[in-house]
């Protein structure tokens, strides 16, 4: 796969826009998964299951936070490319 450095500006913009879409579409999925695990934790009948689901929910929260961070970085990069 060609890295961003080998591309001209138009190609870079296109690659970043594509990445933005990929990351963007994933965020609601992570939120959904987190809610699912929170509900599962609430319904758990053993502490073991409850702790597992809470840990999974926290991981999904981490994914969401990380995706949002990447999304903001990408939007920033795109703005700089378009203005620069």
């Amino acid at each position: 796969m060609a890295g961003l450095n080998d591309m001209n500006k138009q190609e870079k913009i296109k690659a970043i826009e594509e990445m933005i879409q990929i990351v963007l579409l994933r965020i609601p999925k992570e939120i959904e998964a987190m809610h699912f695990y929170i509900k599962a934790a609430e319904k758990s009948t053993t502490d073991e299951a409850k702790n597992l689901f809470i840990a999974l929910a926290q991981q999904e929260k981490g994914h969401e936070a990380e995706l949002r961070r990447i999304l903001n970085d990408l939007k920033q990069q795109l703005m700089e490319l378009k203005n620069g």
Binding site: E17, E18, I20, Q21, I22, L24, L25, R26, I27, P28, I31, E32, H35, A55, Q58, Q59, K61, G62, H63, E64, A65, E66, R69, L71, K75
Partner: protein, 224 residues
């Protein structure tokens, strides 16, 4: 300290570097891993790290090694105002509900129109027209709820898929309106009447356009 104040301590230009974790402020200025306020090329000092801990290769015990500064004073709990809407949307998912009306009814209507063109039985033509009125009207709640989801769940980020959906939905609405107007102007749906052909062609064209909008919806729900 308030969240706003912590932002100032970003570790840049010799400023101290503070981070927030679970409502507490920590000083990481002295840490080698937070040089100039940057951590692993990802995180910046001044921010809240709570949500990121599950992605870190370490657990929260690392915070015992840095200096605790104070607790955060929250004016209002840090909740995204969109959170409430997101929860409501997730519970009722109105867009996937409303899209079934245009999707079902317009396909049915065009099928009726085909039957009319083949068998020339006017009941089929009438049915097609009523389906157009109902199915065409039901495009509006589909579009409105789609825009709602775009706003609530995707912060109105305009990507290729959303451009497709918005442009082709507008096109769909124009086709539907055009078809209704042409049908009204055609008077007694006689064949050979120019308005009737405009009606039939607009109606037929609405199908691939709607299908393309829906296909792009599927790309959101089932991304590859």
């Amino acid at each position: 300290m308030k969240r706003e104040d912590v932002k100032e301590f970003n570790g840049e230009n010799g400023k101290p570097a503070y981070i927030i974790f679970k409502g507490k402020v920590y000083d990481v200025t002295e840490s080698r891993l937070w040089k100039n306020g940057k951590h692993m090329g990802r995180h910046k000092a001044g921010g809240d790290m709570t949500d990121f801990i599950s992605m870190a290769p370490h657990d929260e015990k690392v915070l015992d090694k840095v200096k605790y500064v104070c607790d955060i004073e929250e004016d209002i709990p840090k909740e995204d105002p969109k959170e409430k809407w997101r929860n409501l949307y997730r519970r009722y998912h109105p867009h996937p509900i409303f899209i079934h009306f245009p999707m079902g009814v317009l396909y049915f209507g065009v099928f009726m129109l085909f039957l009319f063109l083949i068998f020339k039985i006017s009941e089929f033509e009438r049915t097609a027209y009523y389906a157009l009125l109902f199915g065409g009207t039901s495009v509006f709640p589909a579009v409105i709820t789609g825009l709602m989801s775009w706003y609530i769940n995707y912060d109105r980020t305009l990507t290729e898929i959303f451009k497709n959906k918005i442009i082709y939905s507008s096109f769909l609405i124009l086709l539907v309106i055009n078809a209704v107007v042409a049908r009204v102007l055609s008077g007694n749906q006689e064949e050979g009447n120019l308005w009737f052909y405009i009606y039939a062609i607009s109606y037929l064209l609405a199908i691939p356009v709607m299908t393309f909008v829906a296909y792009n919806g599927g790309r959101i729900t089932w991304p590859d």
